[in-house]
């Protein structure tokens, strides 16, 4: 009986150690993947132009590298959370920036993802309202069918260089 118990505990500790090792192995690799994906996302959004000014969001520090967080939520699926800082506390412009971010990523991000966009805390008076709007996909879809709004977004989102073709080849749903 004691022999059996001894054997059992030995096997158990082996198993635990092995599983612990394996888990340890996975974590840093996953971290690295997530960081890579975050950089990919940032690369796409930093060139979006501000609706009012002729500068990009990166230049105006509306988005920074650290404002993009990526987490793996499933097999090959990632949750992308972006917190941007609007330039002015103007409701409509903040919503517009949020819209541009969503559209650009929807078109250009190559991997399966779920996207959440928020205004970074404390930078806007009506941030909860804006956050709710830009994360409501039905509202976003309806907004993009409004021709005026669509034109503005297209201007902000389309790159003036030859990289446009890269975006067009993505299989993702065009709104």
């Amino acid at each position: 009986m004691s022999l059996v118990l001894g054997l059992l505990s030995h096997t158990l500790s082996r198993v635990l150690r092995y599983s612990g090792l394996r888990r340890g192995c996975h974590a840093p690799r996953r971290r690295a993947m997530e960081q890579d994906k975050a950089l990919e996302v940032y690369d796409i959004i930093r060139t979006i132009r501000d609706p009012e000014k002729p500068n990009t969001l990166e230049e105006l520090e509306v988005v920074t590298e650290s404002c993009v967080k990526v987490n793996e939520i499933g097999e090959d699926e990632y949750l992308v959370v972006i917190r941007f800082t609007p330039t002015v506390p103007h409701c409509s412009l903040a919503t517009l920036i949020g819209l541009c971010l969503r559209i650009k990523l929807q078109r250009c991000l190559p991997f399966r993802h779920k996207l959440e966009i928020y205004i970074s805390e404390g930078t806007h008076s009506t941030e909860e309202d804006i956050n709710k709007q830009i994360n409501d996909k039905e509202r976003v879809a309806a907004a993009m069918e409004n021709p005026n709004l669509r034109d503005i977004v297209e201007q902000c989102v389309t790159e003036p260089t030859a990289f446009v073709s890269q975006c067009l080849s993505t299989p993702y749903v065009w709104l």
């Binding site: 399966r112 709710k132 409501d136 509202r139 879809a141 309806a142 749903v173 065009w174 709104l175």
Partner: protein, 587 residues
């Protein structure tokens, strides 16, 4: 996690932690006719991220027995409604050996996936989202609409589905919703171009007979009343419009309701009455009816913490399910004035109260909920690409009317993107259609859950335990405290079984067991017959498997339970868990 059954989960963990391994040992020794089990696998099998019901303990499945079906402890499902019975057992009369049952189930995720099986997939709207699906009242046609501004009608051909008609040119922007009239001859489509088109069925397709205008922005939903003479639309302009249609196909707006403070997402009519429900971005659900020639808002259901995307009435119309961006589904119950539960009502209007909150199951926004009129199953479409089905198991305290819903099917990757809509076929039970942002429609077959397995460790009658058994059926076993009644003690046990079953009860012997009862054996119960409601018991006859000696298990029902469980027809084997085994004299 679900708000319900908090204490049950505490009890469950106590059961789980005690005596690990002894259950397997017992299984190995006493298992009827099956060879010893493989070594114990991890005890808790549940797919990550899906909290299972409390009280479930899973052990590896023993190999299939000859008496059982091919799937081991699978069951053939006949049509049966999920019913809960309270069973009483006179303690004084019989001994109570402690039961140890094995739970037999392969893996949580696998079983739940098998409950909802994919039949076919169709690429419905190319390069665009598919927003909504609507079955025709006859169940033969499915209308879908999407971002490509067209409505498509799908019909069955062989084992697949083909597009029978494309209704294009009706709208300049995305078509958000479609709705069939109760007679099936008309189809209404609501679009982001602020109009609603009414299509009439003719010999070779559909033609647009009217366009309803008036909303200031996108029309989000349209619904026909059960009478067929009323139509409701709602829009981002925060209003709900009620239209009346007469025999000459003339539509007239009879009311504009501005009760909501934000965008109205969905409108749905009550299945029998002219009661309208609307779901809104302002986190509430509002109900409207006609009072003295005018439509008024008669109730506001608050409770959700974010946008309510969709609502669905059950088949009786007494209950309403609402799903929201806050990742929960809430079930609301209608209490009429003068109700027996003593819920206060103002005047002649019924009050609606939230009786159940399903939280912890969904990881993202829930876009749609659909309540099957035939089977009572609740399906949800979620932004995490999954489809889930819930079934109700009656409450353990009938006085409180607190239903609990258990997850009976979960397909984690039903589509490659957000699932926007789920719709049960109104005529074919178990047929579910779903559509997604990837433009695809999928057809699923839902099998009402079957086997139920739970294991208890030597519980005595004094313990209150809830075991929500789950492989496929919501079987709830609650062993109650002994109640003094007329000198004899009873143990209340509630068993809810959806399907007719063999019951295999394993019990361990106790010293006080009468000698004419089999001991240390698995007893299989067969030939259960329909039980009576209210008083009276159902004798479930069984026999000791080895000696074929007949035994009768009697179940009594309490008068206040919702309904008795009915068992009839042929059965397969299941393992039933109970805190105590009852053996009674033949009735």
């Amino acid at each position: 996690m679900r708000s319900q059954a908090g204490s049950a989960s505490a009890v469950h963990s106590a059961v789980m932690d005690s005596a690990p391994g002894s259950a397997e040992a017992r299984l190995r020794s006493g298992c009827l006719g099956s060879p010893p089990l493989p070594p114990a696998a991890p005890r808790r099998r549940r797919p990550p991220g899906s909290p299972g019901p409390p009280g479930v303990y899973m052990a590896p499945r023993p190999p299939a027995r000859s008496a059982g079906s091919a799937s081991g402890c699978g069951l053939t499902s006949a049509s049966g409604s999920s019913a809960l019975t309270t069973l009483r057992r006179p303690l004084g009369a019989l001994p109570l050996p402690a039961l140890a049952l094995t739970s037999v189930r392969s893996d949580g995720g696998g079983a739940m996936k098998e409950a909802l099986v994919l039949q076919s997939r169709v690429a419905a709207h190319p390069e665009a989202r598919c927003w909504f699906l609507a079955w025709s009242p006859g169940g033969a046609l499915l209308a879908s609409c999407g971002g490509d501004r067209a409505v498509r009608i799908w019909g069955r051909e062989g084992s697949g589905w083909v597009c029978r008609a494309v209704l294009a040119d009706g709208h300049q922007r995305t078509v958000r919703r479609v709705a069939w009239s109760p007679c099936g001859s008309y189809l209404a489509s609501a679009s982001f171009d602020a109009t609603t088109c009414i299509w009439k069925r003719c010999e070779d397709g559909f033609e647009c007979v009217t366009t309803l205008e008036g909303h200031e922005n996108e029309v989000k939903s349209v619904a026909w009343a059960p009478s067929g003479s009323l139509l409701a639309t709602c829009s981002r302009d925060k209003s709900v419009w009620v239209w009346e249609v007469d025999e000459e196909e003339e539509y007239e707006c009879v009311s504009v309701l501005n009760s909501h403070t934000q965008d109205v997402k969905h409108v749905v009519w009550h299945p029998n009455q002219e009661l309208l429900a609307s779901a809104s971005y302002d986190d509430t659900v509002k109900l409207y009816h006609e009072e003295e020639d005018d439509w008024v808002c008669c109730a506001t259901l608050e409770g959700h913490e974010s946008t309510v995307w969709s609502v669905a009435f059950d088949s009786s119309g007494e209950r309403l399910a609402s799903c929201s961006d806050d990742k929960t589904v809430r079930i609301w119950q209608c209490y009429k004035p003068g109700n027996e539960e003593g819920v206060a009502c103002s005047g002649t209007d019924p009050t609606w109260k939230c009786v159940c909150n399903l939280s912890g199951y969904h990881s993202r926004t829930i876009y749609d909920v659909s309540w099957c009129r035939l089977t009572g199953a609740l399906a949800t479409a979620c932004g995490d690409d999954a489809i889930r089905v819930f079934e109700e198991s009656s409450s353990s305290s009938p006085q409180q009317q607190q239903p609990t819903f258990s997850l009976t099917a979960h397909v984690p990757r039903a589509h490659s993107q957000d699932v926007n809509c789920v719709a049960w076929n109104p005529k074919e039970p178990g047929l579910l259609a779903s559509c997604s942002d990837d433009g695809e429609i999928a057809f699923w077959k839902y099998q009402q859950p079957e086997v139920v397995l739970v294991q208890h460790e030597g519980c005595s009658v004094n313990q209150v335990q809830t075991a929500l058994v789950q492989q496929r059926i919501p079987l709830q076993i609650v062993v109650g405290d002994p109640i003094e009644s007329g000198g004899a003690q009873h143990a209340d046990v509630q068993v809810g079984i959806a399907q007719p079953v063999h019951c295999i009860l394993r019990k361990s012997s106790t010293p006080s067991e009468p000698t004419n009862q089999p001991s240390r054996a698995d007893v299989s119960l067969q030939g259960c017959h329909r039980s009576q409601q209210l008083f009276g018991g159902t004798a479930i006859r069984g026999w000791h498997a080895e000696s074929k000696q007949k035994l009768t298990f009697a179940f009594w029902t309490l008068p206040s339970t919702v309904s008795a469980f009915s068992m009839s027809g042929s059965f397969d084997t299941i393992w039933l868990s109970m805190g105590s085994c009852w053996l009674s004299r033949d009735r």
